[in-house]
């Protein structure tokens, strides 16, 4: 342990570098989707670095490329001076879904990685018990994962990663499947171990979409933009541990990052949605939540304008979900996003104050005016004598602009929006759009 502390004072050697990495998903040239665009970064010893981005920013893809689980389309990764061409020793990973083997006990799960390395049984057991002890799982050695709570399961995930004595620990949203209290306990426990130098690792890379989590835990935060993923900003956090969320410096930094994350959306007009016109990729949002958000914004204390960090707190929403809603409102011209604020437009204010039927009518007008694919489908249905059209036809059109998966997601969003606005109907069994209205 002493050696580790000395090591830490020793300074910053580079542990892992990512050099000009780009990654695309999808086959064929037309429907390829760029996930990561020319990303470069370096991880040094003795630091915790966060990769912060919204869902779809490719941060998990980047993590898997670093872990050697994925081969990038372009660029290279170097770990400890050696190029990464597949999973390497010295890098361990903690999964969002824990990824424990349900048929093995806690002890066997922790031993699992060592067994894969061919470590002898006695040695395996000794090291596994030490890791279990370190991470606070004593007494649970013989339990099966399904008998444990989420927090305990993720502790097993940590123990399994640490037992191999990796140099680098990669964490893929490790706390996001846990409830708020459990997540906080696990974060502080992990930070304590790190600060006291009791973890057998030299650096941690944390992938997260939670801004406060990033500020709470890391020494450096790399901001990853969406569509495609690109590193747009870097923040240094020099606050001493343990950090206080209410500390003004902490708050200021959180606000700063919020601004940065939403400002980027503003720059990319005319839509934060990738693609233009019919080729716009839409994500499904709940129409109830849209209405609920306009109501909350129209009411005091916001009276039409709210600060995003405040709003996430007040509405108990993840930033990601809130932004998705706000962006849909923006697309429909019910709200505008700027500088970390969301502001209702005139139409948005009216929408918030309306009854159910009026609301649907206004929503319908805005859908047809502002969402090209919906206007297009409606036009086709109006023109046809039968007023019906197969979904496959529009899916083909969408796939000229985007990959299959995005086309599917966009169609699902279209169906949900069009149903709420009663623009057209969708029949799942025959897979057609129509103007039928059940009376």
């Amino acid at each position: 342990m002493e050696a580790r502390v000395k090591d830490r004072a020793h300074g910053l050697e580079t542990l892992l570098t990512v050099d000009g990495v780009s990654h695309t998903f999808g086959k064929g040239t037309a429907s390829q989707r760029l996930i990561l665009d020319d990303v470069s970064l370096a991880l040094k010893s003795n630091e915790i670095v966060s990769l912060l981005g919204r869902s779809g920013s490719g941060k998990s893809t980047l993590l898997r490329i670093m872990a050697g689980l994925l081969q990038p389309s372009r660029g290279s990764v170097t770990f400890d001076g050696e190029p990464v061409r597949g999973p390497v020793d010295g890098v361990a990973m903690v999964f969002q879904t824990f990824a424990l083997l349900p048929w093995l006990t806690v002890l066997a799960n922790v031993e699992f990685g060592l067994e894969a390395q061919g470590v002898k049984p006695e040695e395996r057991r000794r090291r596994a018990l030490a890791a279990i002890d370190l991470i606070g799982l004593d007494g649970f050695e013989n339990a099966y994962p399904k008998e444990l709570s989420g927090g305990m399961r993720q502790r097993v995930g940590f123990a399994r990663a640490l037992v191999t004595h990796p140099k680098l620990l990669l964490m893929d949203e490790p706390f996001s499947a846990l409830d708020v209290l459990t997540a906080e306990t696990l974060r502080t426990d992990l930070l304590d171990l790190w600060v006291e130098g009791r973890l057998p690792i030299r650096a941690i890379l944390l992938v997260t979409h939670n801004i406060e989590e990033a500020v709470l835990m890391s020494d450096r935060i790399l901001l990853l933009s969406s569509n495609p993923g690109k590193i747009t900003a870097e923040f240094k956090v020099s606050l001493p541990h343990p950090r206080n969320r209410l500390d003004p410096t902490f708050r200021a930094l959180v606000d700063d990052i919020y601004k940065r994350m939403t400002a980027r959306a503003d720059v990319a007009r005319p839509g934060v949605f990738p693609g233009l016109g019919i080729g716009m990729i839409l994500q499904r949002v709940s129409s109830n939540a849209l209405a609920g958000l306009t109501e909350a914004l129209a009411a005091p204390p916001y009276n039409g304008r709210a600060d995003l960090p405040d709003l996430t707190q007040a509405l108990q929403l993840e930033l990601d979900d809130l932004l998705r809603l706000a962006e849909m409102l923006q697309l429909l011209r019910f709200a505008e996003l700027a500088e970390g604020d969301v502001k209702l437009t005139e139409a948005g204010r009216r929408f918030a104050g309306m009854g159910v039927d009026e609301r649907k009518e206004l929503f319908r007008q805005h859908l047809i005016t502002h969402i090209p694919i919906i206007a297009h489908i409606r036009r086709v249905l109006d023109e046809r004598p039968t007023h019906r059209a197969p979904v496959a036809r529009f899916r083909d059109e969408l796939e000229d602009h985007m990959d299959e998966e995005s086309a599917e997601e966009t169609l699902r969003a279209v169906v949900s929006l069009a149903r709420y606005g009663e623009v057209f109907a969708f029949d799942e069994q025959s897979n057609t759009f129509s103007l039928d209205n059940p009376t």
């Binding site: 999964f95 048929w103 093995l104 894969a116 061919g118 049984p121 050695e141 099966y144 008998e147």
Partner: protein, 582 residues
């Protein structure tokens, strides 16, 4: 048996169970069972090696004292077939899941083999295996074992293959992340993940298994008559001698064997397999088995398990040492061209095969034979459909009634499963006697025999569906005062439909197979026959008419496949898509 329950040895902080070091009564029980099985196996296998000449010295006799030995021999055949099926499953299904080229051939082949009425193949396999070991009983034994094997292996392999293809993404990533050797990945991730599905499928094939044991122990192919001592040949002799008491004894013995098999083999395996279910939630109902509990509590057995796991561990490390040095691999896309060439080769081989069959049938048969076979196929198809409809009319309402009442379901469910496993062909003689005595129309009254054994699948699946029906939906329907009509049409029938389809599909498949033994039956010298494709196959087999056997089996396979594709799969997809509770 590598994935034995891994004994978690005493670790600091946990109290080792009291008395683990001295033999307990559980040890005694477990060992009695183990030794009994071992002795029986040695005894039985020694007898199987005897030359055919010796068989004639000790022919099957109808005295009930011999039943114990016959039951034992039949059970051993069953075991041998299950072990063969497991090995086949592990090798073939794994190959299909790992190699795209193998997959191209294996998956369709399994799919077709699942719908081939293997009972009709007995004539080929008996001739083949007898030729392999001339003069020895081993050939006939292998033919019987192979017949049982064919009733299980295909769907076991299919289930295993599908599990391998649906390994959750995170487990796959863990295995790649830790750079597991292929050996370790198979035994630690793939095999455990596939175990629940495999066990379930093996259980569903059990009925077929016993059915085939009975059917394959006494076969006549042309001039060759093969009689292997066992429950099936005992029954055949009883039928020949018109001895109803002996038939009753056979039924009794069969019942006991199935009960013992269930208690000693399947229950423990199901209870053990429960821990491999991938859901991370604790279920309210755990399958229990007293035998499994004894095995788990037995310290000596745990010790043996630990030794075993140490050996397999050592073995795993040896393999690791031999293979680890290779460079880490990243998933790569294989060449398209190789695939095209391979597909071409496969298509060419299939074309050649088809040509051979057509040529063979053409030189021996005419067009009118083909038309006859198809016409008879339609008759049997009609029987299957009518019988499934009738069985559904009876068992769906009853199954719903039972399933909604936990106390009834608890009692009836094991009975339904027992009846599904019971080979219906053992019961045939009673029906035949009735039909012969009252001179009933065989075309109508032989039909129920086809579904005698398979209807229980409908019953126990519907019971399972009704038991799983969400209580809040029932309460909502009650509060809204749903009329009986509404309640059946909109509430319970859609709710149990996915389960019903599974049951009806299995029942229909089994009925096709059963038609081969159910459309022609005999009692002593009396022979009763119904018109149908099953009777056609049975008669062609008995006459040793290979051309007609090939033709009729091909036609029946076509019927089964068409029915599967056009009816059952559509219903299944509809049920999965629209009627599943998430």
């Amino acid at each position: 048996m590598i994935f034995l329950p891994r004994p978690a040895g005493p670790v600091p902080g946990t109290r080792p169970e009291a008395g683990a070091s001295i033999p307990s009564r559980y040890d005694l029980l477990a060992f009695t069972i183990l030794f009994a099985v071992l002795i029986a196996a040695i005894h039985g296998s020694r007898e199987m090696e005897q030359p055919l000449a010796a068989l004639e010295l000790a022919p099957v006799s109808l005295s009930p004292q011999n039943l114990y030995e016959y039951a034992l021999l039949s059970t051993l055949r069953m075991f041998a077939a299950i072990i063969a099926s497991l090995i086949f499953t592990f090798v073939v299904a794994t190959l299909a899941a790992k190699s795209r080229k193998a997959e191209l051939v294996i998956v369709p082949a399994l799919d077709i083999l699942q719908s081939v009425p293997v009972l009709g193949f007995l004539s080929f396999t008996v001739t083949f295996f007898m030729g392999l070991f001339p003069g020895s009983r081993l050939g006939a034994e292998l033919a019987a074992i192979f017949a049982i094997f064919t009733s299980q292996a295909w769907n076991m392999a299919f289930s295993f293959y599908q599990s391998l293809r649906t390994i959750p993404k995170d487990l796959d990533e863990v295995s790649r992340h830790f750079r597991l050797s292929g050996w370790m990945r198979f035994w630690r991730i793939e095999a455990p993940f596939a175990t629940p599905g495999l066990v379930w499928n093996t259980m569903m094939s059990m009925s077929g298994g016993w059915f085939f044991v009975v059917a394959s122990e006494a076969i006549t192919v042309g001039d060759t008559k093969v009689v292997l001592p066992g429950l099936g040949s005992y029954l055949a002799l009883a039928i020949e001698k018109e001895d109803l008491t002996a038939v009753a004894w056979a039924i009794f013995a069969m019942g006991i064997v199935i009960l013992i098999y269930d208690q000693l083999v399947f229950r423990p395996i199901v209870a053990w397999a429960d821990k491999f279910r991938a859901e991370q939630t604790a279920t309210s109902e755990k399958p229990r088995s007293w035998v499994y509990d004894i095995f788990r509590r037995s310290g000596l057995l745990r010790f043996a398990g630990a030794q075993f796991s140490e050996i397999s561990d050592w073995f795993g490390r040896a393999i690791l040492a031999a293979t680890r040095r290779r460079a880490p691999t990243v998933a790569q896309t294989p060449g398209r061209w190789g695939d095209y060439v391979w597909t071409g080769v496969v298509i060419a081989a299939a074309g050649w095969g088809l040509w051979t069959i057509i040529a063979f049938v053409r030189t021996n048969l005419g067009m009118d034979d083909v038309i006859t076979a198809f016409a008879l196929g339609l008759v049997t198809l009609l029987r299957v459909l009518v019988l499934i409809a009738l069985a559904s009319l009876i068992w769906v309402p009853l199954g719903v009634w039972i399933g909604l009442r936990p106390w009834a379901a608890e009692r009836v469910q094991p009975l339904a499963q027992f009846l599904a496993a019971f080979p219906a062909n053992v019961l045939f003689p009673f029906f035949v006697v009735v039909i012969a005595t009252f001179h009933l129309n065989p075309n109508v009254w032989l039909s129920p025999l086809m579904i005698l054994g398979t209807q229980w699948y409908i019953l126990f699946n519907v019971i399972a569906g009704a038991s799983a029906f969400p209580n809040d939906l029932r309460e909502a329907a009650t509060l809204m005062k749903a009329s009986p009509r509404q309640w059946w049409r909109d509430v319970i029938l859609p709710g149990v439909f996915p389960y019903y389809v599974t049951g009806a599909l299995t029942a229909a498949g089994g009925s096709w197979n059963a038609s081969i033994v159910a459309e022609v039956v005999s009692w002593g010298s009396t022979k009763i026959e119904a018109a149908g494709l099953g009777a056609y196959i049975a008669k062609a087999t008995e006459a040793g008419d290979m051309a007609r056997v090939v033709l009729s089996i091909t036609v029946m396979s076509l019927f089964v496949m068409a029915l599967n594709r056009l009816l059952w799969r559509r219903l299944y997809r509809f049920a999965e898509h629209r009627l599943r509770f998430e």
